[in-house]
Symmetry: C2
Subunit: 316 residues, 2 copies
Amino acid sequence: MPAEAPAPFRRLAIVGLGLIGSSIARAARHYGMVETIVAIDRDAAVLERVRALGIADVATDDLVAGVAQADLVILCVPVGAAGAVAEAMAGHLAPGTVVSDVGSVKVAVVAAVAPHLGPGVHFVPAHPVAGTEYSGPDAGFSTLFSGRWCILTPLPEGDAGAAARVQAFWEGIGAIVETMTAEHHDLVLAITSHVPHLIAYNIVGTAADLEAVTQSEVIKFSAGGFRDFTRIAASDPTMWRDVFLANKDAVLEMLGRFNEDLSALARAIRWGDGDALHALFTRTRAIRRGIVAQGQETAEPDFGRSRAERGKTGEG
Amino acid sequence: MPAEAPAPFRRLAIVGLGLIGSSIARAARHYGMVETIVAIDRDAAVLERVRALGIADVATDDLVAGVAQADLVILCVPVGAAGAVAEAMAGHLAPGTVVSDVGSVKVAVVAAVAPHLGPGVHFVPAHPVAGTEYSGPDAGFSTLFSGRWCILTPLPEGDAGAAARVQAFWEGIGAIVETMTAEHHDLVLAITSHVPHLIAYNIVGTAADLEAVTQSEVIKFSAGGFRDFTRIAASDPTMWRDVFLANKDAVLEMLGRFNEDLSALARAIRWGDGDALHALFTRTRAIRRGIVAQGQETAEPDFGRSRAERGKTGEG
């Protein structure tokens, strides 16, 4: 955000202090984006950690009181819970309040949240495409969104000023903002995030169930490629259950494409069609180069794992 | 290797100076495991890099002369090329020479290589489970095998002393050695390496072919999980073509299991069976913890990517 622009919001209420919620709290303070941060969570253990970490000005389990004076409320709960939270707080939001979220699915969240919010409240759905495989308030850090994309899916009939302020907030904590429809978001994320998670969860499950290969062998020899899948297969189970249920159509559509292609690949292996295999394996390198070139990944070999082993440092 | 043990070999000939071959050369020198290193490659550009990097005492495209006086010859060529190399060099190996390899498939390599080697030559198949997504002599580094597993699959009728010397060599350059049959190796690697590579190549290909989502969007929003797949889908196309063709049966068998499980998962999504999804997603976390606990992966969030972005350093 340019230095001369006024801060878009003064009082931020975050509902759900997991990895993402706690990172937003840390980032909002680190970048001086709001005056007051209210952390709302129904889990007493989470609130205790929030207080110990000192990442919010107020930590409460009282949703109604917590959101009452906020001018920005961000829902950082699993997408399956967003509707219920919206319903519970809707009557207690001040006119002009902006409500946003961080859900990995947008059509279902809009359908669940928007009907509850009164006409004076502005809903601006958002999705920061960032994360790690860790969960909970201790896992967050203030630079999680730096250089990462945050997708906004403003409602067609929504308030443009509110969307601009949410954009300014995300840009202020380091993200790059892109705007698209909720429907398109759900398709894009189905292929870039949801199906990858699904097949990662799946192969880790398949490996665990084999009789001919022990779990100990799977773990020992995981450096051959398997371990790359286990990171995302260690992501939060509740969050991901909700994502798959909420984005069912797009996930099944993209999974159908994946399966068709995989069948063709299996057939090429069965019939010894080395040229088809080589052609695909060459083509896929280009996408990797694009990802590295755009700064969404390091070019270091092996993600710098070898380096990490030589001198491991913690993430702040 | 204990300090008092004699070096198991004096003259090492490496055939194929790619990522693995050049890493073995660097490691053998770094750890003082042999007196002389002979680099053999038919590619003049590779030999030029080997000479410039100074990682071998001799660099030659003459296979017969290169292996003539070696007491250890390691084939570091794609598995589909191992048989032809063995045939070409077989008559020129001194009695007592130990031949090994680094192939990701073992049954097919044994079948292709062993028949060519005379009775006085000892073949000890090996597979170091280590690598990065980069290829070529510049990509190697001396610590690639440190703390990584190297699997030996000695022939049932093979020379036990030769196998022990190959084990000592690998332990001397930092690897942990495990011995199993070639058949079991191919099953284990099918699930821990080959099928993961196959589905990574596949989803990157699927994503590239979509009409509704642009390649630019796939690249931009890859941080949601997709990028984890692109690393291994950037691996050497020729090597991997050969792996899939050479380990066809085990790969198709494991792929069949994967597909059955994926169908069940798709069905759970279609019918909204959140409990089944949550149960699997919880179970898969345990395998991840095992991999981190056994030192085959860093526990840093996001592979330390955020850290890498703050201060990127090269890999030696």
